[in-house]
Each structure stands twice: as C-alpha cells, then as structure tokens.
C-alpha cells in the first residue's frame, strides 16, 4: 500500500484529547473534533452526545477533499481554512499539517476571532503530536495487531 497505516496509540491519543478538551474551553466552543483526511474520527470533545460525529467526520473530510480539488484546479496548494456561518451554529474547519482536520463548532457565546486565535495555537500543538505519531508508525517493528489473526477469525466475523 502506498499510504502509511494510520495508527493511534494511547500516549498520543491522550495528548490529542488534552488539546481538544482545552480548545473547547478556551474557544468557548460547543464541540471540537479531529478527523483524518479519509473521514475517520480521531478525537472529539464538548457536547458530542447530541450530534452524529461519524457522519460529521465523513462529510467534513468530503468537504476538505472537494475544496482541495478546487485549490488544485486554481493551482493553489490548499485552502487550509474554511468558515461557515449559520443562524445559530458556526463551523470553523482547519487543515492541520495537511494530514488531519480540526473542526470547531460554536455559537454566539464565542466569536470567529477568538476561535481563529485558539485554533492557531492548537494547530501547532497537534502538528507536533501527529509528526511524532507518524515517525513512530514508520519505525520498523511497530507490528499490526492483525498480523496474528487467522482465516478462521475472519470467517467467524461473517457467521450470522
């Protein structure tokens, strides 16, 4: 496969979760979540119980992919930031390190200026964590938990 396997370990997950938890507070946001560019949810914080984070993750990644496609046609590298303003909810989408997407949902209790400021700081922190994570995954000997599964394990999954 061409792409390196995306893997999340406990140590990095905790670091990422700390960043998103803090971003919710500091930006006065309702929800903050992180998605990889393929639409897989990595971490979420805030009022997540009332929203469908799986669908949001997939749509956000689709949105970033489409915007990236437009950028390419315009010979731009990427449009790293997007902002959508609604009547009650606003959404700020930031591409971090061209690898993951940081999404902040907020209402009138916060402001675009504050969100942008806090997102900038959080992006730097996240970038460092993901870089460390990637180099860890690239290390030889980082084995897949799936290396030892048997054909029987796979068959069992499909026995209705």
């Amino acid at each position: 496969m061409v792409n390196p396997q995306m893997v999340m370990y406990e140590e990095e997950f905790n670091q990422i979760q700390t960043v998103v938890d803090r971003l919710v507070k500091e930006a006065n946001a309702k929800v903050v979540f992180i998605v990889d560019k393929n639409g897989q949810l990595i971490a979420a914080s805030g009022e997540v119980d009332n929203i469908d984070t799986t669908s949001l993750a997939s749509l956000t990644a689709g949105n970033i992919a489409a915007t990236g496609g437009i950028a390419k046609l315009l010979r731009e590298n990427e449009f790293a930031t997007q902002f959508h303003e609604g009547e009650r909810a606003n959404i700020h989408i930031q591409l971090v390190g061209n690898r993951v997407i940081l999404v902040v949902i907020f209402d009138a209790k916060s402001s675009l200026g504050l969100v942008r400021l806090r997102v900038r700081k959080a992006s730097d922190e996240l970038n460092r964590v993901f870089e460390a994570l990637l180099s860890k995954v690239a290390e030889p000997g980082s084995d897949s938990p799936f290396a030892e599964i048997t054909d029987e394990d796979i068959d069992n999954l499909f026995n209705d």
Partner: protein, 195 residues
C-alpha cells in the same frame, strides 16, 4: 488506508462501490442499510441531486463485530457514476482499502461498464494504487432483467482479471451481502498480511 486505533480498540476500513451511472451502487447501500441491525449501523448519508442521482457520495458506517478484541468498522462509500463527475470520483478513492465494481448486466450498458473499469484503473493509479493489488471484487447487478448478458460473456469483458464475482439483484437484495462479505474478507486478509 485503514485506521487502527489502539485507544478505542477499533479498526476502520474504507470500501468504495464503483461503477457506471445507474448500475445500482446506491441501491446496494440502501439494501445493506435496511437489513442491518440498528446497533451495527450509523446514519446513511446521500449527497444526491434533486432527481436522486448521486452528486458526491453516499456514506454508510457499519460495525461488523470484533476480531481479537478489536471492533471492526467499515465505512462504505459510493462514487457518482456519471462520466462528468470524474473529479469527485478521484476524491472518494483517496484512502480506499477495498473496491466493489458494480457492473450493469444489461447488454446496452456493456460499453459504460468497460469505460468505468478503465476509469477506475486510471483513478486508482493516480493515487498510487493498482487494481491488481487492492482488494477487489465484481458484482453483476440487475440479473433479473430480460436484457441481461450471460455471465461468462460479461466476465470476459468486464472482469478479465477474474477476481471473485457475484450475481446480484440489488433491488431485492440478492447477492448484496455476498459481495460485501467477499470484499471485507479480502480487506482483513490484506491487513493480516500487513498491508
């Protein structure tokens, strides 16, 4: 590209349904959605035009069960089949772990099928994948129609690589889960090999 999360103890894989316009990709997903237990599925999302043609993609998250303590989750996507949506198709193939090609069995759609397989090969290559290496299965859909071609002939023309193939009628559900199981198994087998 699958995503292994040690923290949540789950593994996520992406499967894409490819094929010419109106071959039944969305119908496959709708059938899976209708026939899956509520606890095993998420919401199905369809980004479609007013005439219900897929505009960007359909998305359906499925939980298959556990393997050695890891929850396996599959994200099913369809591409828009119409020729002029090629830019969108390329985007959806990013990070794909397995492909199902849905062929329309009708004689009149033979050329559209072949064009779509060629298009799949080209778009995968652009992402650095090859059809020979990626988990890949073929479904011959609309077997119930009177103008359906014979399977051996269709196989010769649409599936020259002779990958696992299945006869289907997505509207009534025949063959839908067999096809999905086949590609899911192939994806997990690839993971086992350390893909």
């Amino acid at each position: 590209m699958s995503f292994i999360n040690y923290m949540a103890r789950e593994i996520n894989c992406k499967i894409v349904y490819y094929g010419p316009g109106l071959c039944g990709k969305t119908t496959n997903l709708q059938y899976i959605y209708e026939r899956t237990n509520p606890e095993a599925k998420g919401k199905m999302i369809s980004l479609a035009t007013e005439t219900e043609r897929t505009l960007f993609f359909d998305f359906l998250p499925l939980a298959l069960g556990e393997i050695r303590g890891f929850k396996t989750r599959f994200h099913l996507y369809t591409v828009p089949g119409q020729v002029f949506y090629d830019a969108s198709r390329k985007l959806i193939l990013k990070g794909v772990d397995g492909v199902i090609f849905v062929a329309d069995s009708q004689m009149e759609r033979l050329e559209a099928n072949q064009e779509s397989v060629d298009n799949l090969r080209i778009n995968l290559a652009e992402q650095g994948y090859s059809l020979e290496k990626i988990p890949y299965v073929v479904q011959y859909n609309k077997r119930d129609l009177p103008n359906a071609m014979e399977v051996p002939e269709l196989r010769e023309l649409v599936n020259p690589m002779k990958v696992p193939d299945f006869e289907a009628c997505a509207r009534s559900g025949v063959g839908v889960f067999d096809t999905l199981k086949a590609v899911s198994k192939a994806v997990l087998t690839e993971l086992k090999r350390g893909g």
